[in-house]
C-alpha cells in the first residue's frame, strides 16, 4: 500500500521586483529624469507659491468692502461673494430667485439620479419630461400668483443647464434617428440624413447660432415668432444631433451582421430589432465617444454669449460692468470655469466608470 504524503505548502513566488518601478528610480534614475524632476519641482513650486500668494494670502475675502480690492494685489473674492446671485441667476428678479435655484437643483438631482444604470427605464424618462415642463413653468411663472418672468430676464446657470439638457435630451433621439436613417435601406432617407449631418458638421456652431437668431425670424410667417432662447436651443439641438449621429453610426457599424440576421430569423419587426437588439449593443460600444460629445456640447452652450443670450458666462460678464466695483475678470472666469469643470470632469469620470462596469459584465 502506498501512502500519500502531502508536501508542505510552498508560498507562491512573488513577481521579481523591477528596480525601475520604484518611485526613487523613476524620479532620479537617469540624468534626464533627475533634471526633469528638478525642473518640474522648481517650476511647480514657483507657480504654486505665486498662485497661493494671489488667491489666498493677498486676497480680499467676501464680506470686505469693494474698495479694498482696488488696493490689494491678490484676488478679489469679495466681488464673487457680492455678485454670486447675479452671476448664477442673471437679471432674474432677486425676490424670485428661489425659482431658478430650485430648477438648477432639480436638474442636477435628475442628472445624478439618471447616472445609475438601474434608473434607465421609462419611469425616469417620464420624470424628466414632467420635471422639465414643470421647471419651464416655474421659471416662466404667471400662475398661482407667481410673478410672470419673460425669458429675456432669465439668465445664468439655469439657462446654461436648460440649453444643455435641451441640446442633449432632444438631440440624442434626433441623432439616433439620423444615424439609423444614414445606415438604413431607404435611399431618400439616407441621402437626406447624410446631407444634413455633413452640412452641419462642416459649419461652425456660431454660424448656426446666427442663422437661428437672425435668419430664422425672417423665415417664419408674419405674426409667428419664436422666443430667442428657444431659437438658440434649436440651433444647439440640431448641432448636437449631427455630432451624436456620427458617434452612434460608429456603434451601428461595429455591430456584427449576424446580430441583424439572427433577429430577422427570429421574426422580429424592424422596430423591435432596432429597439431590442441593435441600439442597446451599439450604444454600449460608444459610451466613451458619446460622453466626449456630450461634454463638448455642454461647453458649447457658452457660445450663446455671442448672440447675446444670458447664460452663465454672459451673466458673469454682465456682473463685471458694475462701476462700484473693480473688474476682477480673472476671478470671475475662474469661478465660471470651475462650475463647468465640475460638470464636465464629473461626466468624464462617470463614463470611465460606466465603461469598466459594462466590460466587467461582458467578461462574466
Amino acid at each position: 500500500m502506498t501512502t500519500i504524503s502531502i508536501s508542505p505548502d510552498v508560498p507562491a513566488r512573488s513577481a521579481p521586483i523591477d528596480r525601475r518601478d520604484s518611485a526613487m528610480h523613476r524620479l532620479f534614475g537617469t540624468v534626464v529624469s533627475s533634471v526633469a524632476t528638478v525642473v518640474a519641482l522648481g517650476l511647480g513650486l514657483y507657480a504654486l507659491s505665486r498662485f497661493a500668494d494671489w488667491s489666498l494670502i493677498n486676497a480680499v475675502w467676501p464680506g470686505e468692502p469693494g474698495a479694498m480690492c482696488r488696493r490689494a494685489t491678490g484676488a478679489c473674492w469679495a466681488f464673487l461673494g457680492e455678485k454670486l446671485n447675479q452671476i448664477l441667476f442673471g437679471i432674474y428678479p432677486p425676490a424670485q430667485q428661489w425659482r431658478p435655484a430650485l430648477v438648477c437643483a432639480f436638474i442636477l438631482f435628475m442628472v445624478v439620479l439618471s447616472l445609475s444604470p438601474r434608473q434607465w427605464r421609462l419611469r425616469t424618462v417620464v420624470l424628466w419630461l414632467v420635471g422639465m415642463a414643470g421647471s419651464l413653468a416655474l421659471m416662466q411663472g404667471g400662475w398661482f400668483g407667481l410673478e410672470r418672468v419673460p425669458t429675456a430676464s432669465w439668465g445664468g446657470l439655469p439657462v446654461t443647464l436648460l440649453l444643455a439638457v435641451c441640446a442633449l435630451g432632444i438631440g440624442m433621439p434626433l441623432g439616433v434617428l439620423l444615424a439609423l436613417a444614414r445606415r438604413g435601406s431607404l435611399p431618400v432617407a439616407r441621402f437626406i440624413a447624410t446631407c444634413v449631418i455633413e452640412l452641419i458638421r462642416g459649419l461652425p456652431l456660431i454660424s448656426l447660432l446666427f442663422m437661428a437668431s437672425i435668419v430664422l425670424p425672417i423665415m417664419l410667417p408674419a405674426g409667428m415668432t419664436i422666443d430667442s432662447l428657444l431659437r438658440a436651443g434649436i440651433a444647439l439641438t440640431i448641432f448636437s444631433a449631427a455630432y451624436l449621429a456620427e458617434v452612434i453610426r460608429g456603434g451601428l457599424q461595429s455591430l456584427p451582421a449576424g446580430q441583424l440576421e439572427a433577429s430577422r430569423a427570429l421574426g422580429l419587426s424592424w422596430w423591435q430589432m432596432t429597439r431590442l437588439v441593435v441600439l442597446p449593443q451599439a450604444m454600449r460600444k460608444v459610451i466613451a465617444p458619446l460622453t466626449n460629445t456630450a461634454i463638448v456640447m455642454i461647453k458649447n452652450t457658452s457660445l450663446v454669449l455671442i448672440v447675446g443670450l444670458f447664460d452663465l458666462l454672459s451673466s458673469g460678464r454682465a456682473a463685471l460692468t458694475d462701476p462700484a466695483w473693480p473688474t476682477p475678470y480673472v476671478e470671475t472666469y475662474f469661478f465660471i470655469a470651475g462650475i463647468y469643470f465640475c460638470i464636465c470632469f464629473g461626466l468624464s469620470r462617470y463614463s470611465m466608470w460606466l465603461e469598466r462596469r459594462f466590460k466587467k459584465g461582458e467578461l462574466r
Binding site: 511647480g44 442663422m211 423665415m219 470655469a337 469643470f341
Partner: protein
C-alpha cells in the same frame, strides 16, 4: 387592395420615402418662401450687389492691405486671410505642443506625467470661450501701460497694447537665396531614385553642405543685409518693430493651448496603438529611444492618427470663429460687422457658411489623399 399595399415591403418603403421627402423638402420650401415673402414685404433688397460698395469700417490688423474705403468684398478677403493665417499657426503650434504632451503623458516620470495630466484635464473640461476670455483679460487688464511696459528681453516689450518685438528686414538681392534653396529642393527630389537604390551613399550630408555653401555664396554676391528695427516708445504707443495685438495674442494662445490637449490625446492614442513588440524589436536592434520613436513608431502610428487628426484640424478652423469673443478681425468678425451695417444677414451668413464648407471639404479631401499615401506605404 390597401392591405396588400400595406404589407408589401417595397410599396411601404416607397411610401415612407415619399413621405420623408415631402416633409423635409416641404419644410425647406415653406421656410424659403416665407423668407422671400417677408423680404419683399419689407422692401429689403436681396443679392450680392452690395459687395462692391465701400465697407467704411476699419479692420485693426490684416495681412492684406486694407483701407475703410475698400469694398466689402475686399474686407471679406482680408477676414478670410486672417482666419487662414491664425488657423495655420494654431494647427502647427498645437500639433508640436500636442506631440510633446503625448510624450509627457506616456512618461513613467510621475511629476512630468502628473503635470501633463493636470493641464489636460483643466483645458479639456472648460469651455474654449471662457479660456479665450480668460487669456484676453490676462493680456489686456493685468499688463502695464506702454510707458511702464515689461521689457523681458532687449527690444521686446509687453504692454496692454500687445507684444512688440524687433522686426527683421532683408535688404539686397534676397530672392537669389530663395531661388538657390528652391533649386536645391528640386535636386533633392530629383535624386530620390538614386537615394532609394544606394541608401548607403552619404548623399544627405554632401547635399546639405553643398546647399549651405551655395546659400552663403548667393548671400555674399547678392549683398543681402539683415537689419533689425526695434520698437520705440512714441507718445502713448510703440512705433516700429513687429507687433502682436492683445486680441491676436489671446486667440493664438487660447486656441493653441486648448487644441494641443485634444491633439495630444489623439497622438498618444496613435503611439499606444503601435504594438509593444515594435519597441522591443527596435531596442534589440540597438536603436536609441528617440530613433525608435522617429523611424519605427511614428510612421506606424500615423495610420491611426490621421483620420481623427483631420477632424481635429477642421474643428480648429471652425473654432477660430470664436475670434468674435475677443475681437480679432477674422472672417466671422468682418461678416457680423457687415451684417450689422447693411442688414444683409442672409447673404452674409451664406458667404460665411459657404466658405467654411469649402474649407471643410477641401481639408477632408487633402487629408484623405494623405491618408491614402500612408496606407500605400504600409502595404509595400
Amino acid at each position: 387592395m390597401f392591405k396588400r399595399l400595406w404589407y408589401n415591403s417595397r410599396a411601404r418603403s416607397v411610401m415612407m420615402q415619399v413621405l420623408i421627402a415631402c416633409l423635409f423638402f416641404g419644410t425647406l420650401a415653406w421656410l424659403v418662401w416665407n423668407a422671400h415673402y417677408n423680404l419683399t414685404q419689407r422692401g429689403i433688397a436681396t443679392g450680392f450687389g452690395y459687395l462692391s460698395d465701400a465697407a467704411r469700417f476699419p479692420i485693426s490688423e490684416s495681412l492684406l492691405a486694407y483701407r475703410p474705403t475698400d469694398s466689402y468684398a475686399r474686407a471679406f478677403a482680408v477676414g478670410l486671410m486672417n482666419t487662414l493665417y491664425i488657423s495655420v499657426l494654431v494647427i502647427v503650434a498645437s500639433t508640436v505642443l500636442g506631440f510633446l504632451l503625448a510624450l509627457a503623458r506616456r512618461s513613467r516620470h510621475p511629476l512630468v506625467n502628473g503635470i501633463a495630466t493636470f493641464y489636460l484635464e483643466i483645458t479639456r473640461n472648460t469651455p474654449l470661450v471662457v479660456q479665450l476670455l480668460f487669456w484676453y483679460s490676462l493680456v489686456t487688464i493685468n499688463l502695464p501701460s506702454p510707458r511702464q511696459a515689461l521689457n523681458p528681453l532687449p527690444g521686446v516689450f509687453l504692454s496692454i497694447r500687445g507684444l512688440f518685438f524687433p522686426s527683421v528686414q532683408i535688404e539686397g538681392d534676397w530672392p537669389a537665396v530663395v531661388w538657390v534653396m528652391l533649386a536645391a529642393l528640386l535636386v533633392w527630389v530629383g535624386l530620390r531614385p538614386l537615394r532609394r537604390r544606394r541608401p548607403t551613399l552619404p548623399l544627405g550630408r554632401v547635399f546639405f553642405v553643398g546647399t549651405l555653401l551655395a546659400c552663403v555664396l548667393a548671400w555674399q554676391w547678392g549683398d543681402v543685409m539683415l537689419t533689425s528695427h526695434s520698437p520705440q516708445l512714441r507718445g502713448l504707443n510703440f512705433v516700429g518693430g513687429t507687433a502682436l495685438t492683445p486680441e491676436f495674442t489671446a486667440l493664438l494662445l487660447g486656441l493653441t493651448l486648448y487644441s494641443a490637449a485634444f491633439s495630444g490625446e489623439i497622438i498618444r492614442g496613435g503611439i499606444e496603438a503601435v504594438a509593444q513588440g515594435q519597441w522591443e524589436a527596435a531596442q534589440s536592434l540597438g536603436l536609441r529611444p528617440w530613433t525608435t520613436l522617429r523611424c519605427v513608431v511614428v510612421p506606424q502610428s500615423l495610420r491611426v492618427i490621421v483620420p481623427p487628426m483631420t477632424s481635429q484640424y477642421l474643428s480648429i478652423v471652425k473654432n477660430t470663429t470664436l475670434a468674435l469673443a475677443v475681437g480679432y478681425p477674422d472672417l466671422s468678425f468682418v461678416i457680423t460687422t457687415t451684417i450689422n451695417q447693411t442688414g444683409q444677414a442672409i447673404e452674409g451668413l451664406a458667404i460665411l457658411m459657404g466658405v467654411y464648407l469649402c474649407i471643410s471639404l477641401s481639408v477632408s479631401l487633402f487629408m484623405n489623399l494623405y491618408n491614402r499615401r500612408i496606407l500605400r506605404t504600409e502595404r509595400r
